[in-house]
Amino acid sequence: MDDLLSEFLTETSESLSTLDVELVKLEQNPNDPRILQNIFRLVHTIKGTCGFLGLPRLEVVAHAAENVLGKFRDGELEVTPAAVTLILTSIDRIKLILSHLEQTESEPEGNDEELIAALNAMAEGRAEPAAPAASQAEETDGIDEAEAAPDEAPAVEDVAPFDEPEPAPPAVAPAPPAPVEEPAKPQKKAVPAAPAATAPAETAGGGESSVAQQSIRVNVELLENLMTLVSELVLTRNQLLQMVRGKDDSEFATPLQRLSHITTDLQEGVMKTRMQPIGNAWAKLPRIVRDLSVETHKKIDLQMIGAETELDRQVLELIKDPLTHMVRNSADHGIEGPDERRAHGKPETGKIVLNAYHEGGHIIIEISDDGRGLNINRIRAKIISNGLATEAELDAMNDQQIAQFIFKPGFSTAEKVTSVSGRGVGMDVVRTNIEKIGGTIELKSVQGRGSTFTIKIPLTLAIVSALIVECGGERFAIPQISVLELVRVTTTSEHSIEVINNAPVLRLRDRLLPLVSLRNLLELGGEEDERGETFIVVTQVGNYTFGIIVDRVFDTEEIVVKPVAPILRHITMFSGNTILGDGSVIMILDPNGIAGATGEVAMAAGSGQIAGKEAVRDARAGERTSLLVFRTGGQDLKAVPLALVARLEEIDLTTVEHSHGKPVVQYRGHLMPLISIDPYYQMQSEGSQPVLVFSDRERSMGLVVDEIVDIVDEHLKVQLAVNQPGLIGTAVVASKATDLIDAGYYLTQAYSDWFGSLDEDTYGEEDHAKRVLLVDDSPFFLNLLTPLLSVAGYEVTSVESADRALALRDGGDDFDIIVSDIEMPGMSGFDFAEAVRREGRWQATPMVALSSHATEKDFERGREVGFNDYVAKFDRDALLQTLAQTLADAKGAA
């Protein structure tokens, strides 16, 4: 049976059993609006779904019943036992049709006219116990079932393309006749003019819905918990196995064997409950490809092979976006237009093939197209212009190696970014997402012949097979998927580690393999093993192969990956931790992180990954900010701090509506105003429009842009201040002059009360919003933080120097909290705090220091001079949290 239909049946039979109960309740409390509302909603849902699935007979009955219920709800009709009986009769009729539907996948033939007529009569307030005979005459809105019926089966077929090839023609419908109704049920009286009796064509398949019984709905959380429990069981099993290993005569051996088998079966069983066909992730693709082919005037044929291949739903969720993005890329950039294809002797219609299959505990997804392939020359040019590598370096690489650069952060060859996936920009995001779930992605491309991406991902994230190694007296797990081979190195073996200026390398089959010493990388200390024997774990991350030097290698073990504690998440070398069979805790190494730390031009290191502590420190000292660069209304580049942007969306322009002459769209159940930077900007009426979404609680505002160019991490310095509303100034971003947008200005354009009304939300019981005094010498930061704090519900006053702040104090202004920069020309933040604490009306006002150098020493110094807390610049969340916390503390203390 079609998934959609069986889901509908399951759901509807659940609703119907609720309805029975609710209706009886209604009869007892005819005036309870809550019950009525609930009943109305249930029937309405059934009606809506029927319409969607193309089940006209059901829909008509449900519609008529809904009408009556609507009148009940609006108080136009009194809830009488007779009326309830009539509704119950309709419900029974719906059940009847459903049971037939379940057996034959089509609605039974038959005629509900008299029932509908009775319902309509009831709705119109006429003839209460409505003699069906009388109403039979009027077929006002009764649909002619004879006509409707033949269309039904095809209608169901339409929504069920994967239907099993046994569509029951309506003619066969009259199945074994069965008692039409269980007359008793909740009715106490005989049904007046029982319409069922006059529906001779009705058939029923034995009352209860068998599909409904075969599948039950289970909360995903419950399944997740089960999975966790099973994972624990697997661990315990492993532990037991380890204990009896080597004791052949143990009396536990046999039962343990059984336990082991059962555990494995159970693990597979539970895993199956989480499995979903990959086709679910592909469902949207045909539409996307179709739209793109229309938009770009190309002919594209999308073939999907292996849609039934199953994988863990968690994995499925995570690869959905990358897959969509890649198919879009293939259609947009890969496939050529028909003319170009003909010129190259290819068929006019381009082909994109998605192929999914299982292979040894992994699922392989191939996305191939027969388009133009990657343009290596363009990629080279881009690499050089973006400074990702020098020409000399590129000369030493082959085409495949150069092609790998498309996975690097900040790389995009298309002159124009035509589409934005809504989650991120470019192939680096795709790669990061796939690697996040322990997968790998490979690329093969032949110019003029097309390209193929091969994604290999584990079936499930919960349990992975890992190699256990030891180094410096500690044991670590390395996910097996990244391990290519193991090499044993002794002083006498043919392999030996050689050193080039402290960089260890290994000659392996005529290639030089770069090596990483785990001991040095993890600062494990200790000396090299005296036995003169070490092992090299040859590891592959993407196309980068390197060796990890370890002291010893143990066996492989199935491990359950558990996330590390939050305080350790910044260490990129670890992807998690786990408990081994012997009960000890062990860290799981992240090959991506290690590759990133080796300093290899590391394609491996994603944009967000920072290698080791050094880099973290550098990043902090360099005051980098992530900026989203875009274009709108002209060629000028514009940028906004990424932290302020909630999402990137692409809006279908046909869905744009107008309210008070201003464009709005419905977004996540709310109306979102669309604002453009250029007030005279004319939006197209169709196609799609990239939009930056700024959100706060339930409100969203969409800033219309022409295209999103890039996301860059930049050392920010505002070079030119401008006196134009909506602009903060101009800065050099990615070596181009870029206007920085004042998001706060546009927020107030969208909702003039954006900041004002929030105050009430946030501080309902207080008489005023919390007043924040912001002291910072950099106008950029004042401009960055002011909207941020305002959005969070604070009333912000900002000044550029401590002197001015003190002038405000002497002028008699009061604030609830003071946020001050430390490094300022003239009076520093420390001096300012001392001055505030020494005398005047602000002596008790809490103060928070803001700085880019948050060392222990500064922290202590800050404390001494009177700051209550210390926050690093750029950490929006920490700042908001600290403000709330400090204010709460101050209030508690007062």
Binding site: P566, L568, I571, S584, V585, A854, E860, A872, D875, Q881
Partner: protein, 163 residues
């Protein structure tokens, strides 16, 4: 297990007086500290701890507590005290914070005390700023003072490290 003992004694005490708060006491460098008894999951003796390379100095490592991974925090460096010499075996108190388990490694763990609210005082302003950060207040006991550890602040490493 130790926890059930703790809980039952706590219940008994609660019946005696609603005006008192129960604390698991512990000692670091001869100073007495207390943690509200309900936040404590377990009290552990010396454990096998897995070292975590590159972790902040306060993180002693991680350990396995009945199948759950617990991050061991060395309280001494957190309070600006010198690390305990490896010869002395410490004890630890396991608390839950933000859905994760942490074990606070201290020198020793004492009994559960039921303390009257009247004996509670706010931090004296002269207290070391670092200690003021992690202390929720002070109890005056007969012959010594008990510092109430603010577990949430103690374990919130994001607050003042700026990342």
């Amino acid at each position: 297990m130790s926890k059930s003992v703790v809980v039952s004694s706590q219940r008994a005490l609660r019946e005696v007086s609603a005006e008192t708060q129960d604390y698991v006491t512990m000692f670091i460098d001869r100073q007495m500290f207390g943690v509200p008894v309900l936040t404590v999951q377990d009290v552990l003796g010396p454990q096998r701890i897995t070292r975590i390379p590159l972790a902040p100095p306060e993180v002693a490592g991680s350990l396995n507590l009945r199948g759950r991974i617990v991050t061991a925090i060395d309280v001494r460096p957190r309070l600006g005290l010198a690390k305990r010499s490896t010869a002395e075996k410490g004890m630890s108190v396991v608390v839950e914070f933000g859905g994760e388990l942490y074990s606070l490694n201290v020198d020793s763990v004492g009994e559960v005390l039921s303390l009257p609210a009247a004996a509670f005082e706010r931090n004296p302003p002269t207290l070391d700023p670092l200690w003021r950060e992690y202390s929720a207040g002070i109890y005056r006991l007969e012959n010594k003072l008990l510092v109430v550890l603010d577990v949430a602040r103690l374990l919130d490493f994001t607050r003042n490290e700026g990342n």
